[in-house]
Amino acid sequence: MSTIERVSQWSHRIFNTTTNEQNVRRSSNPFAQSNFQKNILMEDVFESSKKDVSFTGGISQGTKRIYSTFVGSINDFGKKFYDGIESIKEFGLRMKDGIVGALNKIREIGNTEIHLGEGLKNGYNAVKSVLATDMGKFFNTREKQVAAMAKLDPHTQVKPLLSNAIKALEEELTVAA
């Protein structure tokens, strides 16, 4: 394995955490999809067109190739770093949204003003109303009274009751008149 390939793998290990990250778009950077996605730059990218000015000195072609690979990696690292920042930024935004949403929910709950005493009171009233309705249906006192009176002896028991009731009704009418 050549030195270039080793450096490339090394830089790839450092800056490429997962292969899936390539498919996830995390920024609006127009250079994200550029040719610099490759880890290796063309070897003569940083070679000056002016031959009289040379920064390389006595660096050999092979060394230059290694450096260019490393620089390409650094360039890629910049993109990764930017993407990472973008990820952190988006994560932060999501967290913010989540927290804001949670706060809103808490505020909504707070606005309903749930109090234990009031809840118990409401529950008691609800149960009371249900029971009152059902009691009215199933325990009609008037019907029960009529059924009970129907079992009494007409002459000895019901006759006096009827006489007294009619007398009371006549008195009511007299008073009203």
Partner: protein, 129 residues
Amino acid sequence: MITTINKTTKTYNRVSDIIDSLTINPNPDAVTVLEEIGTNSSIDEVREMTAKALVKRNEPNSLSVVISHRGKGVNDMSTVVAMSTINCLLSLEDKEEAMKVLENTISNEGIEEDVRENARSVKALMALS
């Protein structure tokens, strides 16, 4: 003098309940009590309730009270009571007993003519219904 009665008072409901109980009382003496107390009341509403109770019992002796007796049931001096009793007779599901009592009343020469005339009219209405 008051001619109308408040049908929502406790006393009125009490009278109504007692008469209702006598309507469903299986004892035949209930008819006697209704006739003695209810049909002789000075209050029209009480007489009306009593007449209805006697018709609802749908027995020969109870129907006889409202059909064959002067001043009671269909022969009541109050038009409201008389008409209410006739309506109750017409709404009976089983009219067999009522028709027998009406025929007996019409054919009984010992009964006053106006009572027999009323019975004939009621019988004609029942035949049409």
